[in-house]
């Protein structure tokens, strides 16, 4: 593999990417199922890279907070693995879903057991699992503290407007949760579980914060910036494996093919990606492609991977 050269090179690369994409800013379709997301300006674009060596590179709106939405599922999965270990796989599968991200069909076909922790049903089930012994409020607090710890940044907060809006209009997620409940697949009241789910999806973070928060996955489970050991080396690999196979809904295969890095997207237009041993990357561009993943964000990562030679499928 052609190794990326030191600092100046990575900065030059993302500057180039930003320049090349600038004429296309605004492409894609901004998520509009809740007003708070719909009114985000489609022309935002930010990108941040944090290397395992501790260097940070930024371009565009890398310091502007956005709604991380489904990217938060990586953090709740990490918490769930910490609390319950491999037992969670009795409750949630780990296979790609092969259909639209909020599809209820597969769920019925499989008796209410979600295919993986990154589709909505699976993440709702994960919220349910980590609720054990907590009130929703306590758990939401714990999730926020965990993400702050990962990113080493006390300024990360939940956007309560977004959370409220999802609570009021997230009909499909309400349907999914009640559907799982009807199969006896939730341990806690539907409103508690959804309360947690809607709040962790409403976390607002910048690209820089997000890249830092994901760095432990690029570095064998330990955040090299803080020295915090988050998960074991094996678990970091496994979370990366799940992101690669399931992280982009029904576009996961396409992302793996074109970008070649584990990543998790959110409907707010963010993507967190991991180049194992090299860096953690966050990109944000609100316009979505047909799969519901950031259109220019995916493209920026494809360009980055091509120019740095970063790919888990190398050399």
């Amino acid at each position: 593999m052609r190794e990326p050269k030191p600092q100046e090179d990575l900065q030059a690369i993302i500057d180039d990417i930003y320049r090349e994409l600038t004429p296309r800013l605004g492409e894609g379709k901004v998520a509009d199922y809740i007003p708070q997301l719909a009114r985000v300006d489609a022309r935002h674009f930010g990108m941040a890279i944090v290397t395992t060596g501790g260097e940070v590179y930024r371009v565009g709106d890398a310091e502007m907070p956005f709604s991380i939405q489904s990217i938060s599922k990586v953090f709740t999965l990490t918490l769930a693995l910490g609390k319950h270990g491999e037992n969670i796989w009795n409750r949630v599968g780990r296979e790609p879903s092969g259909s639209a991200f909020n599809s209820i069909v597969q769920l019925e076909h499989e008796g209410g057991k979600p295919r993986n922790p990154f589709i909505n049903a699976g993440a709702i089930r994960i919220s349910d699992l980590i609720l054990a012994g907590h009130t929703p409020k306590e758990l939401i607090g714990e999730i926020v503290r965990f993400v702050r710890y990962l990113a080493d940044d006390e300024n990360i907060v939940i956007d309560h407007e977004v959370a409220r809006s999802e609570t009021a209009t997230g009909y499909r997620n309400i349907a999914l949760a009640n559907f799982m409940r009807s199969f006896g697949r939730l341990d806690h009241p539907v409103e508690h579980v959804l309360g947690v789910y809607f709040h962790h999806c409403a976390l607002a973070m910048t690209c820089s914060q997000l890249a830092k928060a994901g760095l432990f996955l690029a570095a064998g489970g330990t955040n090299p910036l803080t020295g915090h050991s988050v998960v074991s080396r094996q678990r970091a690999r496994r979370i990366n494996a799940l992101m690669l196979t399931c992280g982009h809904y029904d576009g996961s295969g396409d992302f793996a093919y074109r970008v070649g890095l584990p990543g998790k997207s959110g409907v707010g237009g963010g993507i967190m990606a991991v180049a194992p041993g090299k860096a953690s990357i966050a990109v944000w561009s609100p316009g979505l492609n047909d799969y519901g993943n950031s259109l220019l964000g995916s493209l920026a990562l494809e360009m980055l991977a091509a120019r740095t030679g970063w790919s888990v499928f190398g050399p």
Copy 2:
């Protein structure tokens, strides 16, 4: 990543794996849909590793030929990409299938376009694509020559008994091909396409041959043993990406999680796996797990990955 030590170490590791698995030989269910596969002794076990540096390690029945079946789809995909380039993705998707490997449901749902080139429907479509300008017989000859070239071994042949048997009783594949034809998705007569498909699936290879044939995928597209440049670096990565997301039918997510290496399984009990930059691995054990992948073969690869530290999701 903990690097595997030189030669003696890898040999010791696979010797250990073989020893540990010996009491379990015969576990799993041998494919019985055609007699030629059903009468294989379930207790066979072979494994071969060829490193990018050229060392070869073997254990058990590594020199005994077996029916590679769906592993051959990697080779026909490689041919198709060579002949038609990225245009093939207009005809075949590249997303995990999310359901049983020979499922016809998704195919109907998506108007006869197969989800990916590694499910049966997709591989049949690939056979159809590479038939352009050839008779079936010519193409079968070309495929055999290509695999011999990859493995640098003129002794590789098709088991015509197996091919005949599939032709006579491969009802589901006949159904899939006619189904795609009914959507106008095949360019050539059904019997021609299936003739090619059944024959390339009937290739008989040893673990050693298979590991050598896959080495170009571990080494950036060029076989370091022969110096043959097979595909570009980027294409090798992309084929690896497809193997990782789609290579084990509905158990692809599980394999990625547990083993962490791109691989392709066949119903004959073989698996070809790739540790990019390190080695190509082939394992054979006829008993299958519930997903239709080799039970002990998957386990052997999981053990190998754990002990060598090989994982694309490292470090």
Copy 3:
């Protein structure tokens, strides 16, 4: 067709049926998804026939009220047709569902439009349609008054315990309603719609009341006992057609084949059936068959049809 003879004959026939079925009372599985239904004694059995000439025949527990559940969907459909006419078919289909009665799969496949007004999703949509211009409470009152008018009996009431219980635990129906809402297929708040739905399903009626309430369908749209013209002759036929093709969930074809009369079943074990031009019949036996329809109730109707010669598929 062998015409049933006058009064004594029909009474003798249902006495015979009751006698023959007595050893089997308790067979089938009582619905247990809400406690109020689960604690009903499985050995109840009642049957009532009201002829278009005004004779009434009863046997067993024909005067004991039970939860009519989905049978109420016939009455709300009749109301909806009265209020909105054939326009309702833009919102609800009229094809058999071909899958389990509360399946959410077909609903997603068809963009949130229910297949017919007798599956749960369709009846929820009907509740939504007739809510226009009403509060839920008003509408529930109107439905009760309508059923009392049909049966000419002021004693018919809603079992509020059952309604409360469904409200608290009817997760699948809550899922269905939210799912339709997510497709923009409900005009009113989910809780209002479900409030109506759960209450009309909780109507408690006796076999005698139910047979009287359905008599207008046997008599060309007019109740011959009261002289009330409920619907046109054509509409009565059409409601009968819907009951025949869709009235027994995924067992509708079986019921048509064996019984040959339009009918609507409820999970409480009741069935209301119609012999056009002859009689309206209600039967109640709480044990359900695999399709979720009354096991002995279906059998009793099959015996009645065989002995009277009543069948729409005659002569």
Copy 4:
């Protein structure tokens, strides 16, 4: 029910219908999946009624033969019930399919057991059942003789051009048959079964012949014109029930709602319908509606039912 008046009335009614529909002749989409069907002039229209009293009424192209296609499934079902009785229901279901008529999805979901004898898969299975003890050629001869016997007309023949064409290009039916075979659901070789199926679908009949052939179903199992007792009264009813619930693919509910008579359509544009106790009706107009049933044929039957008052859901 308003009884239709004697002969002159029925003739006047169908004359009226023909006159009213004349401006619309050519509407709908002629089946084009085989050339022999595609080249039929879309403006043909014929209708014939044979009453249980023996009167015959005709209008338009009532004496022009057309390809009856799926209408033939009623005759093979009748043969199968004669040979195997109610045991056939262990092999074929009798529920409406709830999806497109040649859908393979439900078939896989239900392990290769067709939903009912009128979808293609079910009729193929019926052909397989009645093949027991016969060569395909013998059975095809028997089917032709049976239809001639029903219609009391020795001139009925198979259009071998159509049969050949289906054999050459009926990919979807070939897929269905192989698919069932892969589940072990066919007792005879696929080509034999399809040979029978394609030939009985290629029967060419006139409206007059078809109406006569169906008369036994309107008359309690016995053809009143010939005195031939074809099936028992109960069996005639049951076949009518199957036609009503399953006779028009995914438009069966719609046909029952609008027309109210048992009927079976064919992709050649024919419909055979039954008014129990009154008459047998055949109509032919090649243009199809979205469900694959004759557009103007369905409409003509709806008009006939409205004007005669014929409906099984009467009075």
